[in-house]
């Protein structure tokens, strides 16, 4: 289950984690992805997670469920998850099959996702006197 190269690249950009799914994942790969991502949120003290599913032309119910679980877990660990790059056909298929993304915010593509997180961060920073996200190298 943990062998082989990762089918998802998880990159850190400031306080944001960007997870880009390259290919359709089977159930065990999804579980591994969930595990990796949630672990890294803690390691990097991320405030936002962007999951890019632009390469997927199918999202089945387990994948949708996993994405919702990841978002919930990320929230518990202090990060907001944004789902980006859902293809038109995938979007409609997901809605038809009644498996929306629940409360996860969505955006058109990576750029929009980054912007959305920036907006959320801006309102957060207005609300609290928390310092700017740390920039480490």
């Amino acid at each position: 289950m943990n062998g082989g190269p990762a089918l998802v690249s998880i990159m850190r950009q400031g306080s944001t984690l960007i997870a880009s799914i390259h290919t359709a994942l089977d159930d065990s790969e999804l579980v591994r992805f969930e595990h990796d991502l949630v672990k890294q949120i803690g390691e990097h003290r991320s405030r936002g997670v962007i999951i890019d599913v632009a390469a997927l032309d199918v999202i089945d119910s387990f994948a949708a469920l996993t994405l919702r679980r990841i978002a919930d877990m990320a929230r518990l660990r202090g990060a907001l998850t944004v789902l980006v790059g859902i293809q038109p056909e995938v979007a409609f298929a997901m809605v038809r099959l009644g498996m929306g993304t629940g409360q996860i915010p969505t955006a058109l593509d990576l750029e929009e996702g980054v912007q959305l997180l920036a907006e959320v961060a801006a309102t957060r920073n207005l609300g609290s006197s928390r310092s700017q996200p740390q920039k480490r190298t």
Binding site: L83, V84, I86, Q87, P88, E89, A91, F92, M94, V95, R96, G100, T101, T106, A107, L108, D109, E112
Partner: protein
């Protein structure tokens, strides 16, 4: 026993078959064609008269009809001679292409071809009236060929018509759900006419790909021009709104008529997530607000 009968039959049938079709029949056909060529003017005249009597091809002028009947006649005789159906198909398609826009109906085309067949058959009766067995043989050769021609022309005509209809349907489909960018990242979808499930499906496809293409954040769907929706279409619309949200665009629906509003409430579509506004103007204003546009009117008096 069985073997014998099956053996038996071809032996008897084959010579008959040959004599009826290929050998003498080829000869008969060429004789026939010569006869038809010889009396071309008279027969064609008679045919035109019968067409007029039957009130066919009324959409065409007499000159056009004369030209068309001449070429149809010549083609007809040529196909009788050569048996080359492909050339006829080609000609029939060509003819259909010319006459369909003039409003010529299927029954007219079939009618004139059958009339020609009858006119020519009559002339054969006339020619061979004294020799009954000869007449039979000539008709044996003539009838299958003539029927094949009538069949080919009718099928080609209907094919051509269907092709035209398909083309028009495609054109209508293409035009029926335009996705129009009106500002950066703002799309409008005006829906005119009845939304059936086929159109609703197409609308969804166009909208979702439009969102991606134009990177839209807000979409206004205006259904002022749509008189009615049924339950399936209403649910489809709700799904489209949800799918758009998955792609990061919010949808505003405007112009819901009282009747549609009533339908939606009656069938219990979940409208809590739908952003609806009375008219297109209000929808555009809301969309501009969402996108952060502030439209102000230029005061002519004070600025100049």
């Amino acid at each position: 026993m069985n073997d014998r009968t099956t053996d038996h039959q071809p032996v008897h049938a084959a010579p008959e078959h040959d004599s009826a079709r290929s050998g003498p029949s080829g000869h008969l056909l060429s004789q026939l064609v010569a006869h038809l060529r010889e009396h071309r003017t008279r027969l064609q005249e008679e045919w035109s008269q019968r067409i007029q009597q039957a009130h066919l091809l009324t959409a065409m002028t007499p000159q056009e009809m004369a030209a068309e009947t001449t070429s149809v006649y010549d083609n007809y005789v040529e196909v009788l001679e050569t048996g080359n159906v492909e050339a006829l198909q080609h000609y029939a398609r060509d003819l259909s292409e010319r006459i369909i826009p003039r409003g010529v109906e299927t029954h007219e085309v079939v009618g004139i071809v059958l009339l020609l067949r009858d006119v020519l058959a009559r002339s054969l009766f006339e020619k061979y009236q004294r020799d009954f067995s000869m007449l039979n043989e000539v008709l044996d050769a003539y009838e299958p060929a003539a029927n094949r021609i009538a069949n080919t022309v009718a099928v080609s005509f209907v094919d051509e018509r269907e092709r035209v209809i398909r083309q028009q349907q495609d054109a209508i489909r293409e035009l029926s759900t335009p996705v129009l960018p009106v500002r950066e990242r703002l799309l409008i979808l005006p829906i005119i006419g009845v939304l059936d499930s086929e159109r609703a499906k197409q609308l969804t496809e166009q909208l979702l790909s439009g969102i991606r293409k134009h990177r839209a954040k807000v979409v206004v769907i205006d259904i002022t021009g749509s008189p009615d929706v049924d339950e399936a279409v209403a649910n489809h619309l709700v799904q489209t709104v949800d799918a758009s949200r998955l792609m990061g665009a919010s949808v505003i629906i405007t112009g819901l008529s009282p009747k549609i509003a009533q339908t939606l409430v009656t069938i219990g579509v979940d409208l809590s997530k739908m952003n609806t506004i009375g008219d297109l103007q209000g929808g555009l204003e809301e969309a501009e607000r969402l996108l952060g546009y502030a439209v102000t009117r230029k005061e002519v008096d004070s600025t100049s």
